[in-house]
Symmetry: C2
Subunit: 176 residues, 2 copies
DNA sequence: CCTTATCTTTACGTTCACGTAAACTTCCGT
DNA sequence: ACGGAAGTTTACGTGAACGTAAAGATAAGG
């Protein structure tokens, strides 16, 4: 038997994860990861010849987590998500270029400004949805209050005739 | 030519809408409406014989709007949505039974309590998503601030050599 | 009554986001 | 060196949520 936890190469830190490890880590399947890569949501390492195993770093795990989170929260298609995430790529490029000091300020400013635009688009989307959700929450709370009032009314009305119904008193507010 | 706006029967108020009118009103298609009815998300009028046109009241338009809103905001499947919406049905039944005074208080309380439970489930879901969205928004704002700071840094650095780049200064915060 | 836009049912088609199976490979522990 | 778990590509399958087409029926305006 050859049990094979996330294979370590040397000291702590670099762990060289394989697709199954990553899938388990973020709660999905290898198929999904390959699919996302195919769509361009995840970068394909260029130094991987066809047939060889994919290997991932903790960074890429984070990226995948972010992708899934955005998909879940924004409810957009993977294609839309891809264009939305071009911001991350821009920022990645910015970081890469910032490391090498040889890029002129004009170019740098351009990249940064572009990234800012993408961020703003995301922000707008998120805020819009947030606002709508807030409205929904407010409405639901209102409805809830009315329901509770009605229940109390019934209880009060019956309090005269015979002791109040001893049903489970599960009328606490759901934890905020 | 026989143009036919939402056909009115008599005085203002009752307008007897047809499926196409409803679809246009809420921004969807007749097919979708029939589909939702098939799934049980919308009630099928029992007094409609096969083949006759479906007619809708303003109330049902509202219901449909609500369904679409929840689907959009909560990102759940139509089947999940259906179970979630049993709350509305329960509340509808409550209202119906409240009109006829002949239901005993015990039954009434039971219905109300049940409805309350459903509302709480919805609330919890909405709040959870709201919280996650808020977190996302906070993170994005933070990222945005950092990006802006970097841009200002570049601009400041260049301010000495020659006049700052006159690119479109589109760096205003996206409207709250 | 007739016309015609709109609707009805039935049924097959489509897109998205993966699932699943098959036939090999790769890689790691021993 | 090797055995086997996990990976690879390729390709077909699937469920959800509708789209679309066909063949006819309905419901007002004129």
């Amino acid at each position: 038997m050859a049990a094979r936890g996330p294979s370590s190469s040397g000291g702590t830190g670099k762990v060289s994860l394989r697709i199954g490890d990553v899938a388990r880590a973020v709660g999905t399947t290898p198929r999904t990861i390959r699919y996302y890569e195919e769509l361009g949501l995840l970068p394909e390492s260029p130094q991987r010849a066809s047939g060889r195993h994919r290997i991932y770093s903790e960074q890429e795990v984070e990226r995948l987590r972010e992708v899934m989170r955005l998909k879940e929260l924004l409810g957009v298609t993977l294609e839309e998500l891809k264009t939305l995430l071009s911001a991350e790529e821009a920022r990645a490029e910015v970081r890469a270029q910032l490391r090498r000091e040889d890029v002129d300020a004009g170019r740098r400013r351009e990249l940064l400004t572009q990234a800012l635009g993408h961020i703003d688009r995301q922000l707008e989307l998120v805020r819009h949805r947030g606002a709508e959700l807030a409205r929904l929450e407010a409405e639901l709370s209102e409805t809830r209050k009315r329901a509770r009032r009605k229940i109390r009314e019934v209880d009060a009305r019956e309090a005269g005739s015979f002791p109040p119904p001893g049903e489970l008193d599960d009328a606490r507010e759901p934890a905020r």
